[in-house]
Symmetry: C2
Subunit: 346 residues, 2 copies
């Protein structure tokens, strides 16, 4: 037998002798979701980037979904302005670092910048890296406004600084989950402590901060040193393990929902910080358009994170019992959940 | 200014007006580590895979470090046998899935298998996915045998199954850290609960399980459905976000310590489960040798995970205060620590 490790399609190879029904898999839960549990993505919230064809002449289209309110809307507005001005047309993907990011835009420093920015771009303050979560129902800790579906485990990135040599300090921190189909982390005003406190604080949780997380395929705004926050003209997509240390330090503005492989397979740059030292390696960007400006607006939908099927999907992903698995993990991190997104079925 | 997001080399762009010394960065901590804190890697524990040159004639060498005892030694022994038999010479990289794995070996199913396996391969039981941790010092919870340097946060993947709709269930689980320079997770026989219990259980922790984690660049043994565990002839390397659900379900046997980009940039396969449907896309493997069989054995070393510099490196990675960062995370996950490994300085 060809040896393959678990993939969604492995369900095709279910054992022929099985008498009991195969336990649910993430794919089977998604396939069984009701049509009403899928939420349409407005084409106006999509950015479609067309790279130059590959060496074999194949199309390279990257579709990015913009982050919804209350997150990062200053930068998202700038990105809409830049796309409407066709500013990215003729720019390039100029920096690729393994297990880190692929970055595009003008890619020149101020002295050599050839491409003036359009009017109307906002300077966005660092305070907009986070939003405020308002709890609407204290007797149900899983209901917030905006609605957040929580993961059943603490988030290692939502702590507070610990002294390095005191193993007696209790871990304190927050949680992560999903809001409007996006991975988020949150810190209540009252710090969460583990165990009894962890649960107690959840039910008596005060208002606090909530922010989007850096996961594989997340799109963010490249910038210089703080307090600069970037305009949105230079963007990157994550092509490796979730760099969660960037959360609350760079603006996440969206995610690649189709075509991330056109960025993740690009040669890694060998210049400073992974910039292509040979300009011939830069990948030309033919056009960047908002989805609603295209002759045929792309139609996508995501599995609503407040739906019963999404909750079941998370539970099954955290506890795999299908034939490939022997030991369910009993937990998962927010970036390994991969919110189901698909083209609208015809 | 060219806008770049944080990379190790960003320290080069420290602000010129800074009067205070720049706080430590992960790179500065590693650079300041004492020579005695670096541990040599025996070339006999390295596997060097030479792929066919790329289209520009560039060499593609992938260096893999094999996992040390007490982990996965049945499969590691098989891999040594296969390498000594030159079994992989002439095989291919035949499967690449975005944000998942690149896989190599014979790649044929039993009916068509062209390449018989060498004698002497062991059939390894699933029980060897985990080892036993023995606590040698109960008054210091950070000392184990094998030595484990613990992360200051719970690990979301070391839980026990939770009911899906009971938000009152306390999170219970274990921890992760580093043993002999490798990322590991562990579950004490007494479950850890958060908060007070979390700390209390650490100090009164009973012996339990310990196992290697699946991180970016981890190498594992592809297999068919459980209870098959694979021989080690078909291997994969992780090229995306850490697929921790595979922990304790597949044998981790090593990690790519140089040349992972030769695998991560390969075109994604479009056949079933990401296998290349066009055989011409398969990447030929010229040779696979143990490091000590090469004319010039490669010399690498890693920053010892029980060293003071490693502890400081983890602390700084979890709490970034250098110029690029505004808000330190206060925590980190075990796969985002990236154990420092380098060629032995000349």
């Amino acid at each position: 037998m060809r040896r393959l490790i678990a993939v969604a399609t492995l369900a095709l190879a279910a054992p022929t002798l099985a008498q009991e029904p195969e336990p649910p898999t993430p794919a089977s839960v998604v396939a069984a979701a009701k049509p009403a549990e899928w939420t349409a993505i407005d084409p106006a919230d999509l950015v479609v980037m067309e790279l130059a064809p590959d060496t074999a002449g194949g199309k390279r289209t990257v579709v990015i979904q913009l982050l919804p309110p209350p997150f990062s809307q200053g930068w998202v507005g700038n990105i809409r302005t830049l796309a409407k001005a066709h500013w990215w047309d003729g720019t390039t993907v100029y920096r690729v670092v393994d297990n880190w990011v692929a970055q595009w835009g003008d890619g020149e420093d101020d002295e050599h910048k050839a491409k003036p920015l359009p009017d109307g771009l906002r300077v966005v303050p660092e305070s907009e890296y986070v939003a405020t979560v308002t709890i609407v129902s204290r007797d149900n800790p899983q209901k917030f406004d905006p609605m957040v579906t929580l993961l059943p485990a603490p988030d290692p990135y939502v702590g507070f600084e610990l002294s390095s040599h005191d193993p007696q300090v209790a871990w304190v921190g927050g949680i992560s989950g999903f809001s409007k189909g996006w991975p988020v982390a949150l810190t209540p005003a009252t710090p969460l402590r583990g165990g009894e406190d962890f649960v107690a604080d959840l039910t008596a949780m005060k208002d606090g901060d909530i922010w989007p997380t850096h996961c594989y395929a997340s799109v963010g705004v490249a910038r210089d040193l703080s307090p600069d926050t970037g305009t949105g003209a230079e963007l990157y997509a994550v092509i490796g393990h979730a760099p969660r240390q960037l959360d609350r330090n760079i603006a996440v503005v969206g995610r690649v929902i189709e075509g991330i492989e056109h960025l993740s397979v690009l040669p890694r740059g060998k210049g400073e910080a992974g910039v292509y030292d040979d300009p011939k390696l830069r990948v030309p960007i033919v056009s960047v358009r908002l989805g609603n400006e295209l002759p045929v607006p792309p139609k996508f939908q995501y599995l609503a994170s407040e739906s019963a099927s999404f909750a079941e999907y998370v539970r099954v992903r955290a506890n795999r019992h299908d034939s490939f698995y022997k030991t369910p993990a009993g937990g998962i991190d927010v970036c390994n959940v991969q919110v189901p997104i698909r083209r609208v079925p015809q």
